[in-house]
Amino acid sequence: MNAPAGIRAWPSDQLTRVPYWVYADASLYAEEIEKVFRGDTWSFLCLEAEVPTPNTYRTSYLGDMSVVVTRDKDGAIHAFENRCAHRGALLCLKERGEAKEIACVYHNWTYDLCGNLTGVAFRKGLGGKGGMPPESHPEAHAPRQLRVEVFAGLVFGTLGRNTPPLEQYLGPEIAPKIKRVMRAPVKLLGGYSQILQSNWKLYMENVKDSYHASLLHMFFTTFRLNRLSQKGGLVVSADGGNHISYSMAADVAGKEYEKAGLRTANEDYGALEAPELLKSVDEFGDGVGLQILSVFPGFVLQQIRNSLAVRRIIPQGVDRTELVWTCFGFTSDDDELQELRLRQANLIGPAGFISMEDGAATGFVQRGSRGAGGELSVVEMGGRGIGSEESRVSEAAVRGFWNAYRGHMGV
């Protein structure tokens, strides 16, 4: 649906109300792709370990735009639009591979690993006939090259002219918490993706919503992996776009959830028959059992005990989002630690005891709000601000998302 004229209005100067048309308006979606994803924001493209050696590439996305990430012969990382200068065909058809140069399959135009057009087949024609006029300059239509920065093994790219340097964009609260997780050279463990039948913003709000985690996810609460009564905190970057929610692994065995009669605190559930599922080690040495970190617009870094993953979103239309999960450990992991990561991976992804429910929840909002047009959702837990706080009974990071979003969209 498109919002009826006059309805597409934002509640003035407050972040506690979000109109439902923002999840369903096709023209707004097109504007977001331009202003948010191709604007002055950093998008996570891949782990540096996914282009492990010189002359390798991996395809990824900047918003809905296909991009090629490469590592050149000297080890430098580049990213450029996956589009031939000639007729716009995809340059790389595979997800990953090795290449010294990239040739378009359509008419064999070639590119170096920076994305520069280096060859046009039969440019001067054959036998003095055909070919391109000498004054023609197809290089002017070459795929757009992204500005790329690598931070702690994470590759980010941007097309924005005024995007601040990456570390500044992440902010002084968030950058060290990325480094905290990315503590050693990465070993890829594999991945998968989840098709969310919802607008991309609903997923990012879900990630930033520290209030929902122990109320939706019985596994978190019943097995005391994450309760709002556990010591932890919510940290939001200055513009609101980036956040961390964390909780300490140690639990005080409080009965707040049981007393409140909450569904997720199920005392009759009993123990796991195979408790080794949740066996974990404090590999970071700080007692933090869970750290969910997000970077505007579409990046998530997850530590749930020893389960580590990066997640990135690919918007695929106003009501469809692909969520790509890449799980990792470190090259220094021994077999035992790797086995812990593999077992705890049962908590995450489309089949995860926890994460499957997020896949469902965003779709529930998309469907539930379909007829709601100009109605407003309520985002008022923890007040009206976007500041960091000790309590995670708060939607401060969700409001932070809207603050950053409205800044980039100019609304």
């Binding site: 997800e95 890829l188 463990l189 594999g190 991945g191 998968y192 993706s193 989840q194 098709i195 969310l196 039948q197 939706l216 019985m218 596994f219 019943t222 199920n266 559930y269 796991l272 028959e273 195979a274 080794e276 599922l277 692909e322 799980c327 790797q338 593999l342 077992r343 991976a345 049962n346 992804g349 489309p350 089949a351 005891f353 499957m356 429910e357 896949g359 469902a360 929840a361 779709g363």
Partner: protein, 156 residues
């Protein structure tokens, strides 16, 4: 191909799939040996020898925990599967264990009536006789696509 062996593999997978499709999920762990291994992964991971799974269990107890969570803990909309299995292909047999490969397609039928082709792939099985019953010592479910629609609650 030994016909009796082929029958054994086919029969086990047919009963396995029927238990899932018929919502007799409590019977699902019984198709595995006590220390049976179950892994759902993608063809992309398998081709690159990457070990992560979407579901991973190393014992019947872990499989029972999975079902208990589905019944009592996890939030997902009511849904059923319909498995269609291909003919089993015997890879080898050694020390009383059969290794076999079987193609599958699974349609997912939501409570709303919406039906979709949810997953295609292959089972890589290692089957043993356990107390006179054929059971999985190992079942690796390799889905052809890396994409899963919304969520994967019920095992494949």
């Amino acid at each position: 191909m030994n016909l009796e062996q082929q029958f054994r593999v086919q029969d086990l997978n047919a009963r396995y799939a029927d238990a899932i499709d018929d919502d007799r999920l409590e019977a699902w762990p019984e198709f595995f040996r006590e220390d049976g291994r179950y892994l759902i992964t993608t063809a992309e991971n398998a081709a690159q020898n990457l070990p992560i799974g979407l579901m991973y269990a190393t014992s019947r107890a872990m499989l029972r925990d999975r079902i208990k969570a589905l019944r009592q803990a996890n939030i997902y909309e009511a849904q059923r599967y319909r498995h269609v299995l291909g003919a089993p292909q015997l890879i080898d047999s050694a020390n009383g264990a059969l290794r076999a490969r079987t193609s599958f397609m699974v349609a997912r039928v939501m409570h709303t009536g919406e039906t979709m082709l949810f997953a295609t792939g292959r089972y890589e099985d290692r089957i043993v006789l356990d107390g006179g019953e054929a059971r999985f010592a190992e079942k690796t479910v390799i889905i052809d696509s890396r994409q899963v629609d919304t969520l994967l609650a019920i095992p494949l």
